[in-house]
């Protein structure tokens, strides 16, 4: 490794950034392509985060659903009769909170929101919102909305909205339940029964202290027939997989497009820099540089270009995420470390491929040309 003590003149960096405008445009071009991937990735990560918010932030260790149903998103679950009692009797269960669930429309006179409508036990609060930011839990004839959804609908505490077609008064506002796709609305069990039915859709199960979620899930699978049992993390992973599967093709297309753009910009930059500096490289070769050293110089230029582009793209993505969260609260952009790592790996591949372009020219440089008069 090169240390400060034995460092050489940074020829690659100097040559690359000698013409600042070109260098800035190149880095900006590559960064824009990478930013596209990061943002799209971030938007889907944000949507995934929001879609899993309810289960992820709830107190349950295990979720029981209709056999074969593994998610709430795009699912309908109806538990068999007796499942609640059978679950309660399993050793290691601290409590069971049944919830009702359906997907429907919440609307006022002017707007409408696609929503998860969840009926829960308001006396214990289990299965309800993670945090009530204003007002109180809903009673009969009432509903608790997510703050962002309420804001978009233009309603507040005490106003009336239509939930699954029935007018309910807003008793409180929660947070964290609205994504770019939908929102989450809470009513009491009694109100849900009035709206739809009193059938439980999911059971949220808490393990007693000392019993691990996985162990409890195994016991429940053995004891309760005709249901699907997942630990909370398994349920969250299932929800995330659905979102990811929906977005995978789009992400793949955008990644390939961005990869192509980044590759073209980087390759063109390196080739241009190399061709305009051929005489310089001939001089360096005449002074005693090996071809290998020149190859390393161009490789370093590729590394500098993509490293700078990744840094700019990540910074821009973070900034845009912040701006979007202010301007469009439903659009959550999560720039994850995994996404940054993936993008950096793509960028590194771009750098390696782009560096291949100028290599034949470098290999053919005749140091004797340094002695010819400059044009």
């Amino acid at each position: 490794m090169t240390t400060r003590l034995n460092r050489s003149v940074p020829l690659a960096r100097r040559v690359l950034f000698a013409e600042r405008r070109r260098a800035i445009l190149s880095v900006a071009g590559v960064a824009s392509a990478l930013l596209l991937v990061l943002l799209l990735d971030g938007i889907f990560a944000g949507a995934m985060n929001a879609n899993t918010y309810y289960v992820r932030t709830g107190p349950a260790d295990v979720v029981v659903s209709q056999s074969g149903v593994r998610t709430m998103h795009m699912s309908t679950s109806v538990l068999p009769a007796g499942a609640l009692e059978q679950t309660r009797q399993v050793d290691g269960v601290a409590w069971v909170a049944p919830i009702s669930f359906s997907t429907g429309i919440v609307a006022d006179g002017t707007g409408r929101q696609l929503s998860y409508v969840i009926g829960y036990d308001t006396t214990t609060g289990r299965g309800g919102p993670h945090r009530i930011v204003s007002g109180r839990a809903p009673g009969l004839g009432e509903v608790l909305l997510d703050g962002i959804a309420a804001n978009q609908l233009g309603v507040g505490l005490g106003d009336t909205v239509l939930v699954l077609g029935s007018p309910l008064r807003v008793s409180g506002l929660a947070s964290g339940g609205t994504s770019i796709v939908n929102t989450t609305t809470f009513v009491s069990h009694q109100q849900y029964a009035a709206l739809r039915s009193d059938v439980s859709a999911y059971l949220l199960v808490k393990a007693v202290s000392g019993v691990r979620a996985g162990e409890l899930a195994r016991r429940l699978r053995d004891a309760v027939p005709n249901v699907s049992v997942q630990t909370r993390s398994q349920f969250v992973a299932s929800e995330a997989r659905i979102t990811r599967d929906m977005s995978a093709d789009l992400l793949r297309i955008m990644t390939i497009l961005s990869f192509g753009i980044a590759l073209a910009v980087t390759a063109l930059t390196l080739l241009t820099v190399t061709l305009t500096r051929l005489r310089d490289y001939a001089v360096v070769k005449a002074l005693g540089s090996s071809s290998g050293r020149l190859v390393r110089t161009v490789s370093a230029q590729a590394a500098w270009t993509v490293a700078a582009a990744v840094a700019v793209a990540v910074a821009a993505a973070e900034l845009l995420a912040l701006l979007l969260s202010r301007l469009l609260p439903t659009v959550q952009v999560l720039v994850t470390s995994g996404s940054v790592t993936r993008t950096a790996i793509w960028a590194a591949v771009v750098g390696v491929l782009a560096a291949l372009g100028p290599l034949p020219r470098l290999a053919r440089i005749d140091p004797a040309t340094a002695f010819r008069e400059a044009a």
Binding site: L5, N6, V15, V284, L287, G288, S290, P367
Partner: protein
């Protein structure tokens, strides 16, 4: 073929050095069987008309071009049979190059240009920086170390080029038309600096040039024509500027003695001093 031989030790020894291009009817002999020994501390000026093979010879002497035949021994290595890697190392460690167009890297500062040559020779870090600073100071450029080539005058650029040529402490400095793009004062300055490198450091200096000003600093002047060295006429001394000049330029006969001059300006000045009339003697 004319042979110029100096007594050993030699910094550079060429024997029957030949470079040809093409074959058969298209065969062109760029350099044809040149012998040359250059000893430490010697300044050799190679002159000749355009197309005489001067640059080809310089490229071969600098291990930048392989001879077609003959031998060239530098530091005990015969460059005609050495590997490409050996030639590269030889250039990095044994030679200093001075170019007509200076050939400084525009993206680097004066100090970095010199330091890069140190790096190529294997010296890096503070030692390289210190060496670069020392050389720039030697050539009066301490205050210009941070300047880029486009911020330097022609004379300054060529002095940076000289500093770069010495970065690897070379035994031989090869200079291609080092004064071609400089005005008279700067040209003389560079010529004197080249002389100093030979006198003070005992380096061998090989200069390829058309510039008559360089004659004053040369120990030997070789005339290359059609790829071979030819004998040149005995030199005369310009009585005004003191330069060694060929007996083919401007001249003036005073009291039965013929004087030779580097230029008509010197001849006019000489004539005015001695009250002679300058006739229509051809230059």
């Amino acid at each position: 073929m004319t042979t110029f031989v100096q007594a050993p030790p030699t910094a550079l020894q060429a024997r029957a050095l030949t470079k040809t291009y093409g074959v058969g009817a298209t065969l062109v002999v760029a350099v044809g069987g040149v012998d040359l020994d250059v000893v430490p501390g010697e300044v050799v000026l190679i002159m000749g008309p355009s197309g005489s093979g001067k640059t080809t010879l310089l490229l071969m002497l600098g291990a930048l071009l392989r001879p077609t035949s003959g031998s060239l021994v530098i530091d005990g290595i015969d460059t005609t049979t050495a590997s490409g890697r050996t030639l590269t190392r030889l250039r990095a460690t044994h030679f200093g190059f001075v170019f007509q167009d200076y050939n400084l890297l525009g993206a680097l500062t004066a100090r970095e240009n010199v330091e890069l040559a140190c790096n190529l020779a294997g010296t890096t870090g503070p030692r390289a920086r210190s060496r670069a600073a020392e050389l720039l100071t030697r050539f009066g450029l301490a205050g210009r170390a941070g300047s880029r080539p486009d911020q330097l005058s022609g004379g300054e650029k060529q002095r940076v080029s000289l500093a770069r040529a010495l970065a690897n402490d070379p035994a031989v400095v090869l200079a291609d038309e080092p004064t071609a793009n400089l005005d008279s004062a700067r040209g003389h300055e560079i010529a004197r600096l080249l002389r100093r490198l030979a006198d003070e450091d005992q380096r061998s200096i090989v200069i390829v040039s058309h510039d008559q000003r360089l004659r004053e600093v040369a120990d030997r002047i070789l005339w290359l024509e059609d790829g071979v060295f030819r004998e040149i006429a005995g030199m005369a001394l310009d009585p005004v500027c003191g330069m060694q000049v060929e007996r083919t330029g401007p001249s003036l006969e005073v009291d039965g003695t013929t004087f030779w001059f580097c230029a008509t300006g010197c001849r006019t000045e000489f004539a005015e001093r001695h009250g002679s009339t300058v006739g229509s003697q051809p230059r």
